[in-house]
Amino acid sequence: MNEALVVEGLRVYYRTERGAVRAVDDVSFGLARGESLAIVGESGSGKSTLGLTLIRALPTNASIISGHVYIDGEDTLSLNLADFRRRYSWRVIAMVFQGAMNSLNPVLKVGEQIAEPLIYNGGASREEARRRAMEMIELVGLPREFYYRYPHELSGGMRQRIVIAMSLVMNPRILILDEPTSALDVTIQAQIINLVKDLIERFSLSVIFITHDVSLASDIADRIMVMYGGQVVELGSAERVLGEAPKHPYTEKLLASIPRLRGETIPEFIPGRPPDLASPPPGCRFHPRCPYVFDRCMREEPPLFKVGEGHVARCWLHGE
């Protein structure tokens, strides 16, 4: 089996005052070993919830309604939380959470925060753990002495590097990166992305890269999964989805909305606003904003149609 991770029929809902918010609604995909998959979507598309579900870090008002997440063939959602944390979390699958500052404890030295899982979950001695943490700090391009720094003494870019070092300290095979650069300037963003690329190669990581920025996704991903309104609307190789042939109108319009440095195209926009996931529109969730909408879109929810080699799109345009 070549899949590092398989997600099947995952549904995650939030309980809110307005009723259930269907943040992730029947999502399935696989991640091959050594592969980078980018999950792209606007705010409210469910992409972050998906990431949190994979590493079982959902807020308390969220519940997994159905679905499976297989890692090495084992359904990790069926494990109790303590088992999952002991056997998979950070050892097999780790995550770089959104917002580096919030991921770090303000009153502990960053080095300690990197080293802790080695001591408490990896059986390493303090000395070993420190040495390893310092190696990791060096690996992400910071001096070893940064072990003794506190988060507030670091710049945003440095904190992001520390958080990345922290995620890799237990040698995980799968790494989820949730908007790792969204708060950074482009110059620092470029540094971090270069670093991430190096690390992916060096550790042969399987990566899930969550971002709202299609351009950034193209920087890292072998495959692109576009999410809209809690659902996968298109999934395929980066070359196909971003290159010649986006098959879902949303992907097409999203790509067209990106301002580019080169070329003659003028960016377009998608009118309307993303669906309210407490009461999504009937039929295709994109239909109120879709330029190609026809009557079937308003009535029936489209399934994922195969539109090419390993390429699917949720759109009636590709129906029979």
């Binding site: 944390r85 959470f97 917002g99 303000p106 009153v107 802790e116 979950n121």
Partner: protein, 348 residues
């Protein structure tokens, strides 16, 4: 700014507070004519002692009167009573700082000295013991319960605690003290009405200590009960907020054991704001101590304050305002140092 510079700055600003309070107090004392009275009573006392001393040597009553009058004039000049009060400010200030304010009107030490400095030095430890024990117990209980409640927000226990802490805000400490005396001393006779020792105090040291504890139980309980509700509530809120921070969830995802997460990722982070809360509550604790001591006739500075008011002893009141401010400032400084230790963010 280095940590020592920060500490020095803090010490300096607290010293400024202390001196300014003194200046303020002394100015009011001067402007209202109270300082004249304090000084003239010191002079009268010294003149009386002088008369006693020289009465043996000078037989002639007229000569004696002359000598005494001369001495009085001398004293009046040296104390500056012949000058307006604002010219005496610096010396008065110095007098207060060194507690050189003569004798108390009626209050005295156990041994019978009525020197204000003696009295205060005898009473100070009693107050410090009472207040610091109460604060320590308050925060021990408050933090333990607050953390426990924070683990189940919205529960019945949580709601009850929030409401009780609101009620405790409305209860006057001293009235609760009176109520406790009525219940536990008058009706149930479990505890004494007040004071520091039984009369006569037990001679054996251990029994004596036990006797003090027995006497301190009611006042400390009152101080704790009135304040602990708020401590629980605040601790709960702080802990609850921190528990929702991303880094706590990250720590769990990292596979760290739950008790480690609680200790290093929640409590460790909650310590600075909780400490801030202790610092903010300090002024109130001192006020509460004055009243509680009074109710339980605990022989500390609070009871002394009450006596001084009843006896209209200006000099004693002046000294006590100074001492309370001093105790407050010192306690605050100690807590500030502690704060710098627990919060690396202020150490830069």
């Amino acid at each position: 700014m280095g940590i020592y510079a920060k500490l020095a700055f803090k010490a300096l600003s607290l010293a400024v507070v202390l001196v300014s309070v003194l200046l303020f107090v002394v100015v009011i004392f001067g402007a209202t004519g109270l300082s004249d009275r304090v000084l003239s009573s010191i002079i009268n006392e010294e003149v009386r002692l002088y008369r006693q001393a020289v009465a043996g040597q000078i037989r002639d009553p007229q000569a004696l009167e002359e000598a005494v009058t001369k001495y009085r004039i001398e004293l009046t000049r040296s104390y500056g009573l012949d000058r307006p009060w604002y010219e005496r400010l610096p010396s008065m200030l110095l007098r207060v700082i060194t507690l050189d304010l003569g004798r108390a009107r009626l209050a005295q030490t156990f041994a019978g000295s009525n020197l204000i400095s003696d009295i205060i030095m005898e009473r100070l430890p009693n107050t410090v013991i009472l207040v610091s024990t109460a604060i320590a117990i308050n925060f021990l209980i408050g933090i333990l319960l607050g953390v426990r409640i924070a683990t189940r927000p919205g529960s019945r226990l949580d709601k009850a605690t929030s409401f009780l802490s609101a009620i405790s805000y409305a209860v006057p400490t001293w009235w609760l003290g009176i109520l406790f005396i009525l219940i536990f001393a008058f009706y149930l006779k479990f505890f004494p009405y007040g004071g520091l020792y039984s009369s006569p105090p037990p001679s054996e040291p251990f029994m004596r200590a036990l006797d003090v504890v027995w006497h301190a139980t009611l006042p400390i309980s009152v101080l704790v009960i009135v304040n602990v509700g708020l401590t629980i509530y605040v601790t709960r809120t702080i802990v609850l907020n921190i528990a929702q921070e991303d880094f706590v969830q990250v720590a769990r995802v990292k596979g760290l054991p739950e008790n480690l997460v609680n200790r290093r990722y929640i409590m460790r982070v909650a310590a600075p704001p909780i400490l801030t809360n202790i610092i903010l509550g300090l002024a109130g604790s001192i006020g509460g101590a004055i009243l509680t001591e009074t109710v339980f006739t605990w022989p500390g500075m609070g009871t002394l304050f009450f006596e001084a008011i009843v006896q209209s002893d200006e000099a004693l009141i002046l000294s006590l305002v100074y001492m309370f401010t001093l105790v407050y400032v010192v306690a605050r400084f100690i807590l500030e140092i502690l704060y710098m230790i627990v919060d690396p963010r202020v150490r830069v």
